[in-house]
């Protein structure tokens, strides 16, 4: 992996070049459009079905046709059912997921940004070796390390706590790698030198020049880390055994488990799935314009 950032510097002003598009616009590419519609339906219909299923009581879930909502419906009682389940523990799970994903996301972005800036803009004793270690660590999948992480933390009695879920997720070697590549290209040496000549300290250069110029990659890393932690299941699964510390993923999984074959909790679980997907989908779709996914392909290739 070498460093080629050429594809990411000019932020895709494809529309900038004036092209006579309007002339061709009239004809619709039917095949491409049809494929996209089918793909979109495949991805969104399961999520929409949850809206239908959420309107049904447990009895209706098994007795009414699965693709029509039950209209007077049990939607409100399902919602209050899941929200009041086990002393409002669902809200606790929601809060825990937010604590893990926001706390871990912000901290890990700060750590990756600082390390990436230092490695990208300074040559110091051991900096090359450190970068090699980080590239090597990209190869070690964190998921496979979850059980060893548990075994080690258990030795020091640190499991079953917020820290046990957050600490192992604070360093993302891939995020450091992305930040380093980006800092090299986006923070000009001349600008740093100019601040130095004006008497600015190194910290000031980092804080008021470096971190500002790195903002696009920091936002992207933050969103990637947020989603990675939000979606993580194995780490909290091994670390936690107190259900008031559970994130949503673990909590809802646990609700499927204890009843085993008894389907009496299904409508509650479906309500919980609904209340997990919908808020995040809204957040996600409203934030997606800030994503620079080109940074990922640009950072890895070349």
């Amino acid at each position: 992996m070498t460093t080629a950032v050429t594809s990411q510097r000019p932020p895709r002003t494809v529309t900038g070049e004036p092209r006579p598009r309007s002339r061709k616009r009239r004809r619709t590419n039917l095949v491409a459009t049809a494929i996209l519609i089918i793909g979109g339906l495949y991805c969104i219909l399961p999520a929409l079905w949850i809206l239908i299923a959420a309107t049904k009581s447990n009895a209706q879930l098994f007795s009414t046709p699965p693709y029509t909502p039950s209209l007077p419906g049990a939607f409100l009682s399902n919602m209050s059912g899941i929200l009041t389940y086990n002393h409002e523990i669902f809200l606790r799970w929601w809060l825990n997921s937010v604590i893990y994903a926001v706390g871990g996301g912000v901290l890990s972005t700060a750590i990756a940004g600082a390390a990436g800036y230092a490695l990208g803009k300074y040559a110091f004793t051991g900096s090359r070796a450190i970068f090699r270690i980080i590239v090597a660590a990209v190869l070690l999948p964190q998921v496979l390390l979850a059980v060893p992480q548990y075994l080690l933390l258990a030795k020091f009695g640190l499991t079953n706590s917020y820290e046990s879920v957050i600490l192992p997720q604070l360093v993302s070697p891939f995020a450091i790698y992305l930040c380093k590549i980006y800092a090299e290209a986006a923070v000009p040496d001349e600008l740093m030198e100019a601040v130095r000549i004006d008497g600015g300290s190194e910290f000031r250069i980092f804080w008021s020049v470096g971190s500002r110029l790195m903002l696009p990659v920091l936002v992207t890393v933050l969103l990637l880390q947020f989603i990675a932690i939000w979606n993580n299941f194995l780490l909290p699964f091994v670390m936690l055994n107190n259900n008031s510390l559970y994130p949503l993923t673990l909590g809802l999984y646990g609700m499927l488990m204890p009843t085993g074959g008894q389907p009496n909790q299904y409508s509650l679980v479906i309500g919980g799935v609904f209340l997990t997907i919908v808020p995040l989908a809204i957040l996600f779709l409203s934030l997606q314009r800030f994503w620079r996914i080109d940074l990922i392909s640009g950072g890895v290739k070349g």
Binding site: A4, Q8, V14, N29, V31, A32, T33, I35, L36, I37, G39, G40, L41, C43, I44, P46, A47, W49, F62, A115, A118, L119, Y122, F124, T125, S127, I133, I134, A137, L139, P141, Q142, V143, L144, L145, V147, P148, L151, L167, L170, V171, M192, E193, R196, E202, F203, F206, I227, L234, F237, V238, Y253, G260, P263, I270, V273, I277, F284, K301, G302
Partner: protein, 297 residues
């Protein structure tokens, strides 16, 4: 100790900035890996006495690895995982490539709304997606014919699990490829347009070769993701008997360590899987680099 900085500058700042990452990396990545190596070479030595038994750790050599490799269930779990990868990885790559090319095609409609729809499952955690699909498959609640088709049958189960995994990752991969397409220079494509090439010809003969490195990259990531398969089968397990507690290798690691209380065997299985993943990443990475080298002349 301080070597001259890139701009003849010595400062402690870069060391301070990189220190938190290094410390955390040492504590939570390398130390657990090292501890797992240590555990994998140990065993519980039980000594019986008049006042009851006590147990101490004793060196076990490679016996934990030997019992992992000689356990047929380990190979079964590995082959189940590979079967799912063989179904899921090509599906993900082909679907993502097709969707990305369609979004990038001239005069395709509804590209923004379909892109958002295809991207949406990325916001759904794998476990939640599995519970959701579980209800879609379950005979009693299925809107997709679960009462007629047995989605949890002996063979169907592999497609069932692969489908949940593909659903979760195809959107993200599509967007990665789409951004790669958008970053391509427009001149070759325009030349082909002027020469009268059809949209399909441009997609297959102009765009596809140019994004080959990005396709290689998402393929590699998908294979690595398949080796870590855990969430989907674990979350579907409560709904069906077709999935056992050692169904895929990572589930075996978990049940060794937590159900059977055999942390030594679990550590050995985890490391075996880790070594396989690293080997695959390095090998696959070399192929990818060669592909990119051929492209970027």
């Amino acid at each position: 100790m301080p070597i001259a900085g890139r701009k003849k500058h010595s400062s402690k700042l870069p060391v301070l900035l990189v220190a938190p990452a290094l410390v955390l990396l040492a504590l939570f990545t390398f130390a657990p890996a090292g501890y797992a190596v240590y555990l994998s070479l140990m065993k519980l030595h039980v000594t019986g006495g008049l006042l009851g038994t006590s147990s101490t750790q004793a060196f076990a050599g490679l016996s934990n690895y030997a019992s992992t490799f000689s356990d047929p269930e380990f190979w079964h779990s590995l082959s189940r995982m590979l079967l799912i990868a063989v179904i899921g990885v090509p599906s993900t790559v082909i679907l993502a490539t097709t969707f990305a090319l369609c979004m990038d095609a001239n005069a395709a409609r509804l590209t923004t709304v379909t892109r958002l729809a295809i991207f949406l499952p990325y916001a759904v955690p794998g476990v939640i997606a599995s519970i959701l699909w579980g209800f879609l498959y379950l005979p009693a609640t299925s809107p997709i014919g679960g009462s007629v088709i047995n989605y949890f049958g002996n063979r169907a189960i592999f497609f069932t699990v692969a489908n949940v995994a593909v659903w979760g990752v195809v959107g993200f991969n599509t967007v990665v490829l789409y951004t790669a397409l958008r970053a391509l220079p427009r001149d070759i494509r325009q030349a082909a347009e002027i020469d009268g090439a059809s949209e399909m010809q441009i997609a297959l003969h102009v765009k596809l070769p140019q994004i080959a490195p990005a396709i290689a990259m998402i393929s590699l990531f998908s294979v690595i993701g398949a080796l870590q398969l855990f969430n989907e089968p674990t979350a579907l397990k409560p709904l069906t008997n077709a999935i056992t507690s050692t169904w895929v290798p990572l589930m075996r690691v978990y049940s060794d360590a937590f159900v059977n209380n055999n942390i030594y065997g679990g550590a050995a299985s985890a490391l075996t899987l880790l070594v396989m993943t690293v080997a695959l990443t390095v090998g696959g990475g070399a192929v990818t680099t060669r592909l990119i080298g051929r492209q970027g002349k």
